[in-house]
Amino acid sequence: MARRRTGGPLALALLALPMLHGLAAAQQPAPAAPAWQQGRPSGMAASPLAPNAPRLTVTPPDRIPVAQIRVPDGFRVEVWASGMPGARMMALSENGTLFVGTRTIGRVYAVTQQDGQRRVRTLLQGLTEPNGVAVRDGALYVAAINRVLRYDNIDRSLDEPKPVELTGNFNLPTDAHHGWKFLRFGPDGKLYLQVGANCNICRVDDRHATIERYNPDGSGREVVAHGVRNSVGFDFHPVTGELWFTNNGRDWAGDNTPEDTLGHVRRVGEHFGFPWCHMGTMQDPEVTGRQCSEFSQPALRLGPHTAALGMRFYTGGMFPAEYRNRIFIARHGSWNRTQRSGYDVVMVSFDANGQPRMEPFMTGLLDGANNQFLGRPTDVQQLPDGSLLVSDEQNGAIYRIAYGR
């Protein structure tokens, strides 16, 4: 369980020095500020903003705030499954088993269905932030921090899953910060994952702030995108096959800047600007030397500090025809913003020229008047019937949004 923080880059250590001068003066090695505090201007050192506490216990069904959730006319929302503290990223097997990754609580859940009844199992436990889950050819892939595991014939071994250890093959960086993974198979059969920046803001080496793809056995590493601070959600366009991804903007650079973004990769290996440039247009106040004009532009801004995470293109037949090929994005919700933002699911549609535009889809979990939140949407997953699942990490619940009667 003991895991070492890898040392932050020099630029970062220098930035952190002014606020920790007292410690440095005691002739100690330069202290590393917690990664989430890095880049915080000295004037904000006393800011009470801090990451939200996770909830690791079961939310009783009668306390799940489904009655507060709002969806557009014609849609309805229900609790599809619950009792899964920390439920985050979702993947569906060929047989209809839903796998659900987590972070702090270290579990992977499996939800099975028989005769309309759903059963929740704790499939795996004791892992370090097993956020990433993906299914291919009957095998479940799980990515925890610095570990990649495969469980063959998973639908037939739910009571006794046996891992094939792929960690050495993937050989991922061990950083805890932004070290949790998002996993998704591409139409090319490759396994895609991100390696986030191991800091809030710092210069990174070429093993960080990337989206990468591998052969399913962990060989053949290839960087698909550079300069992506931390993407915890991506999907492939149903027509073009292009990779589209969400990206979380840096903290401590203003309540309204930078915004999280939606991007797409037109050319393998292109660079999206981190750490020099945020959201395509904002030069970093501290990391200088390269210009925004050198980098690829995001397709759309997704709001400041909203923590845009899981996303999927809609390809189902249940929602009205115009919903086809639109993107649903779960916005987990802010911590580094005075007035909370996000805590919803948004929909991105495209006009005749292909220009994207964002609108609310599932709302009601943000109590703006009291600056409180009731839930944290984290991922979306389409079911074979065309309905849409939304995971709520805070309540350990999964909602199902359906259209029609």
């Binding site: 003991a2 005691a26 100690q28 989430w36 009470p48 216990t57 079961v58």
Partner: protein
């Protein structure tokens, strides 16, 4: 900075309990469940045992989170992991509610005498590390951040050593970063200083 500091308590009040609680723990059920805990953590949650923390007055969220981490062996420390192995989530929340509601502090006669040199060494360290931001100016803690005021000095030392050596993490790794540069003397001074806040 002065006006910022003045605004802090207000801002904190607005932040406290930013997530609505899912379920209120039941302190009276928790009291019954916690009877065996008293052997080490003391009657009414004030520990008189070396390296065993006082639990009285700790934030409910912090207590819940740590008990779950013990149960899931993500914080794998005996005998805690074994003792809480069979607890349900609701029982964990009840125990947390019980201890969170008890008055914090040292057992009678257990408060260590103040050491001027230790306090003088600790003050700039605590200021530089901004302990009072997350743990609050009162050091009473909030949400997943524990109370330090009135905690046993030897336990605070033990905890800081664990964070420094990487043998302990919290819900995240922020304390590891803060403790990384502390010497044994720094840790002793900070533990002495923080335990005596009130």
């Amino acid at each position: 900075m002065r006006h910022l500091a003045a605004a802090l308590p207000l801002a904190l009040a607005a932040l406290a309990g930013a997530a609505l609680p899912a379920r209120a723990g039941d302190a009276s059920r928790g009291a019954a469940l916690a009877e065996p805990c008293a052997a080490c953590h003391g009657p009414r949650g004030r520990s008189a045992m070396e390296n065993v923390p006082s639990l009285a007055g700790q934030p409910e969220t912090y207590l819940t989170l740590q008990l779950i981490l013990f149960r899931e062996k993500l914080r794998d420390v005996e005998p805690m992991s074994t003792l809480v192995r069979e607890l349900t989530d609701a029982q964990v929340e009840d125990i947390a509610a019980y201890y969170a509601g008890l008055p914090p502090g040292f057992p009678p006669g257990q408060m260590p005498p103040p050491g001027a040199a230790l306090l003088a060494r600790a003050r700039p360290l605590a200021e530089a590390a901004h302990c009072n931001v997350c743990h609050l100016p009162s050091y009473a803690g909030r949400d997943n951040v524990p109370r330090l005021a009135g905690q046993r000095e030897d336990y605070l030392r033990h905890a800081l050593q664990g964070y420094r050596d990487g043998s302990r993490t919290g819900a995240d790794t922020q304390m590891n970063g803060i403790a990384a540069a502390l010497s044994a003397e720094d840790i002793a001074a900070l533990a002495h200083f923080l335990a005596r806040r009130n």
